[in-house]
Amino acid sequence: MIESRNLKKSFGEKQVLQGVDLTIPTAESLVIIGQSGCGKSVFLKHLVGLLDPDEGEVYVDGDRISNAVRADVYRIRMKFGVLFQSAALFDSMTVMDNVSLGLIEHTDMSRSEITKRVAACLEMVSLPGTEKLKPSELSGGMRKRVGLARAIAMKPKYILYDEPTTGLDPITADSINDLIISLNEELDVTTIVVTHDMVSAFKIADRIVMLHEGKVVFTGTPAETKSTKLGIVRRFIEGESEDQSVVTHY
């Protein structure tokens, strides 16, 4: 279980998170929606301790990760696998080296065991046999898949996805959605997905929460989300801007 209590974070004058309260039970598949720039990535980074809050705490299975000492942060992070928005593959390394890095650093598995685990992870993301390729040789969708293979290599308990389908064509995006669902079921993990892709959100989620102006403004099942009367959520789902002052990020 992950708990975020009254999380606040500012960058300079800009208040990004203004008291986020959210409890994510184990094995849930949670989707966080919200406009670009509303702090979704910032929130995710707090969950793994990549950012520390100005106020509030994050607990992972009862252990505080926010503002904790480095040894504790690293110990807790072992429970996470993160797929970053840009996939964030190490571009000087092959696919094999990318996926195996965590295993090399944190386990004393033999070379052949590692090779086997990497092959299994690549199989799981439908990219078998790509070990020798460099990230620059992969398409956008393939990069996300390799990023995902890397995220699951250490058998994490929690997988965080930052906009897994953004920038992909609808068909590739849908295959990533299927992948997220099947990993959630097969590996028995807790899934937290940040996205502004509503098709993806409705497909993946057990529960959808909306982040707006630094707070959670809505929580509900996909069905509840579809039928809600709440203006902010409605506008977001239907893709209407509130007024001209809404800046379109990419």
């Binding site: 964030a88 190490f90 571009d91």
Partner: protein, 266 residues
């Protein structure tokens, strides 16, 4: 804070700005110190991941060799030529060899090699780590519970500390050859005149202090490259800024260090 429109604003604005810049500079120094503290606490890792360390030795050190040799040969040739001009009519000709030898071993070798390498190494480290920062690769590394300083900074800094003196020895050797070649070829010195008195003026301490200096130069340029790279933000433009900053700061740091070490060593 003063409003920019008002009289106080106009008068005090620059002072506030200066004050803020100063505070930022001090804060930056603090962050640099903290990062280096982390690096020191993790330095033992080069024994565990020797592969990373050796790769950086080759990439940052060995691959710099052609550059170092070009610098060495011309620096040596110039110092031979100049010293002979300066000594003409005042000092006996056979003092030229020892003079060139001392200036190369003590100062020219470490400092010129250092400056060239500081530029190359600090800029390339900053560009590489900066790119990893702005493309979330450092976050990815950290999210895998791998310390980014341990994985990226430690091998680079350790490699440069070890490789710099080795490069300097080679630069020194080539520079001496350059000086000898120029003075015997164009200035009618004989080989015996050039080398004759060198052994009499040879002090092991000179060589050692030159090499010690170069250890510090190598370490500081890699440290600055790493720090600036980790600190980069804001896409490709941020990486460009970081690269320039690393180049400038590593060169300045080198000259300041040279002065401080000169006071300590001599």
């Amino acid at each position: 804070m003063a409003r920019s429109g008002s009289i106080e604003g106009v008068l005090l604005g620059p002072i506030y700005l200066l004050g803020r810049r100063f505070v930022e500079f001090v804060a930056e120094f603090g962050r640099f110190g903290m990062m280096m503290g982390r690096v020191v606490s993790e330095v033992g890792d080069i024994f565990r991941r020797r592969d990373l360390f050796f790769r950086e030795c080759v990439r940052l050190g060995t691959d710099s060799l052609p550059l170092v040799l070009v610098v060495g040969v011309f620096a040596g040739a110039v110092s031979g030529w100049q010293l002979s001009y300066q000594m003409e009519g005042y000092l006996p000709r056979d003092l030229l060899g020892p003079g060139v030898f001392k200036s190369i071993v003590l100062e020219m070798g470490p400092v010129l090699t250092g400056l060239v390498i500081a530029g190359r190494v600090a800029a390339s480290i900053a560009a590489e780590i900066g790119t990893m920062r702005v493309t979330e690769q450092i976050d990815a590394l950290e999210s895998m519970a791998i310390s980014s300083t341990r994985y990226l900074a430690v091998p680079r800094i350790a490699a440069m500390t070890i490789m710099m003196p080795i490069l300097v020895v080679q630069a020194n050797f080539i520079a001496l050859m350059g000086a000898w070649f120029v003075t015997t070829m164009f200035l009618s010195f004989t080989t015996a005149q050039f080398w004759g008195l060198v052994p009499n003026f040879f002090h092991v301490y000179d060589i050692i202090s030159g090499l010690l200096k170069s250890c510090f130069f190598g370490m500081s340029s890699a440290m600055i490259g790493c720090y600036v790279g980790f600190d980069a933000s804001g896409g490709a433009e941020g990486v460009g800024t970081a690269t320039i900053k690393a180049f400038v700061w590593s060169s300045i740091a080198l000259l300041v260090l040279d002065y401080i070490l000169a006071m300590i060593l001599f």
